[in-house]
Amino acid sequence: MADRRTVLLDAALELVGTYGMRGLTHRAVDAAAAVPAGATSNYFRTREALVLGIVERFIVRERAMVSGPHNEVDLSPDGVATALGRFVRRAVGPDRAVTLARYAILVETAQNTGLREGMARGADQVDTWALSLITGAGSQHPGRDLGVLANYVTGLVLHELALPSPDFDVEARIRALIDTFGWVTPQFSLDRPDTTDVV
């Protein structure tokens, strides 16, 4: 069972996703999480502490949206396309509250520079993890490729959320982008040493 702190943060995340940052108060979180009044204040003394707690929580949840229930991503172009496709589907579907909360918090960060440090720390953690993932999957320019993939996926989610495409084949689109990068999967070159187009 999730600990109390996580329960509070998930409730806070839903609130921000549904009502925007204006909906975020300690009392509203108490009510949404069905805990005694004052519980949220005990864990998060200030509003800023609460917002930083939410940032921490959505990083954990976003990572779970990528790696799935078994916390495993196949280290290949297809594996990365599948994992990012899963992320996009969840971000516009069952985990839409996480997405809307993330937008609300990013906009708040744009206006309130005090939140940037916490956001930057979270972003660094995600980058470190994602860099090792795509390097393992064969990226020859991990910095470039991660930058493109991360911005692309963010844009895709933002567009799909407002304007869902009728036949949205997200894995194929991500796979097409990865194909332009020319990844060389280590496994592929080991198994097929005679393949001359893989250098």
Binding site: G20, R22, R96, L100, Y103, A104, L106, V107, T109, A110, R116, M119, A120, A123, R144, G147, V148, A150, N151, Y152, V153, T154, G155, L156, L158, H159, L161, A162, L163, P164, R173, A176, L177, T180, F181
Partner: protein
Amino acid sequence: MEDRRSQLLDAGLELVATEGLGGLTHDAVDAGAQVPAGCTEECFPTREALIQGVTERCIERELEMATGPRPEIEASPEGIAASFGHFVLRALGEDRAVTLARYALHAEAARTPSLREFYAVGADTADTWALDLVRRAGARHPERDFGIMANYVTGLVFHELALPSPEFDPVDRLRVLIRALGWNAP
């Protein structure tokens, strides 16, 4: 002279950017645009009409941000990198309000399906124009590449708005992406 409609909608856009859609009322737009009370209601009788108007205006201004002061963009990789890069700088700088309003409108469209149809019409106008440009600049898969670039630019603006990179050079980032997409040499 700027017409009355644009004047009202620009004031509406600023309101949405600073206060969210909750701040968008007919009275607030009258005050923001410094026009006599009732003007906004005359032009946009319902709240829905007002939201649609602001959405339309957002798309108009984004198109203007992309084309810049020059109506013509050179149809080459460098011309496109410069023009998309210019869009990113304006979206983060002088036209930041357009960007923030757009996120609020997108989130609203996510919650209100009736707004989507309208948003789709505006989105198509901008897409047709850009798709043609990308094709003429040498893209071998224009639809794929424009889709990639449009989503990339959206994500780039979004991330930079919250967490600005030191020495941010969007033109160079676009150049790197276009190179990866393998366009024909001009």
